[in-house]
Symmetry: C2
Subunit: 226 residues, 2 copies
């Protein structure tokens, strides 16, 4: 990934020529991302995007072949970030010496932060992946990647698990957490009793539930919960 200083300098020089263009492109993508979250993709028109970006329709179609290309570019950008963060967050070296509960707590924190940070990701995924196989496929890929990495981290610590079938139990437990996280992000939708609770309460109960199911001894700092 890292370039030599020479090539990187060369690139820097050449990219000055495209500086304005790249800025416009980024501004369009940023505006689209904000609008995709606020109104959804379908309800966002090209005019909305260029208006918010302070650009024009012509510039838009210079950078993107059509509206679909904008949507793809948006998903490319966000899934690339997702992928990179996943790689970093699930690096086995980072979790050396950590217990299953540590790993899962890290996962919950990471996912909650991601959800707050890029709210458009979740909402746009719901909207598009129902009808666009390409986007659907890409999203499934990054999700599977995270899921697989987490599964490996957990199963590498299988001696902690008392459940008779660690593979099945891990798969189920991870899906359970994923579902609850997902539900936490469309807060417009679900007003269940627990939704009012803080992230901290949510993480605590989720970990307690998973520990009970996998038959893991809870961590010392969580044993004395009221």
């Amino acid at each position: 990934m890292s370039r030599s200083r020479w090539i990187s300098d060369l690139h820097w020089v050449r990219s000055r020529g495209q500086a304005r263009g790249q800025r416009t492109r980024s501004a369009l993508l940023d505006a689209a991302e904000a609008l995709f979250f606020e109104k959804g993709i379908d309800a966002t028109s090209v005019n909305d995007v260029v208006a918010r970006a302070g650009s024009s329709v012509g510039a838009f179609y210079h950078h993107f072949r059509d509206k679909k290309a904008l949507v793809y570019a948006f998903f490319d950008r966000v899934t690339a970030e997702f992928h990179a963060t996943t790689q970093e967050a699930t690096d086995p070296a980072r979790w050396e010496g950590a217990s299953i509960v540590d790993v899962l707590e890290g996962y919950l924190d990471f996912a909650l932060e991601m959800g707050r940070d890029r709210p458009a990701f979740h909402r746009a995924s719901l909207e598009v992946s129902l009808r666009d196989p390409t986007v659907h496929e890409n999203l499934a890929e990054v999700r599977a990647e995270l899921d697989s990495a987490l599964t490996q981290l957990v199963l590498a610590r299988r001696e902690e698990i008392g459940h008779p079938d660690p593979e099945t139990a891990t798969a189920f437990a991870l899906e359970q957490l994923r579902c609850m996280l997902s539900s936490r992000f469309d807060d417009d939708l679900s007003r269940t009793p627990f939704e009012g609770k803080s992230d901290q309460d949510f993480v605590r109960e989720a970990l307690a539930s998973v520990c009970a199911y996998l038959q893991i001894a809870p961590r010392a700092d969580q044993e004395e919960s009221p």
Copy 2:
């Protein structure tokens, strides 16, 4: 609810006059429901609806003031059913002598069937309640009703629960189940390992998880799981 034979006869005679109109209206709603599931609400045009219903635009606007009114009518119909089924399914008399696990298994079966039976409900809810406060409110109401009824059924059996805080634990466990159910319905979206498993496997693990978390002794027929 039940009418005397006389009034009911009278109504039957009078309603003949509106028979054709009601049939058209129902056909429009049925067509809309199918299309809302297939393409989503936004992507469904009035023309699509009347084409599938074998009707015409004029007839459509005779029955519905505008497209929004159609969406409302759809939600009215489906939430009314949801409400009635919930009432019947959570009647305390029906569950006399049942354990918490029985109740929750009944809930899962009921919800899975509902989800398969009226797939448009879940999808349309996701799409609309993000932007329409009225629909959002109505949906929140029927969901809260089910949630509250289930909570009461479970807490009426609180002596089965070993968890130190039965109220919190019940709220969390129910939300957990609801999230997983919800995730099971948008099967286009989530391709996690467990999604390939049968409903039966899903119900079994979900009940096992809840039992472990609430600290309930699992049922006799589930103790010998492999």
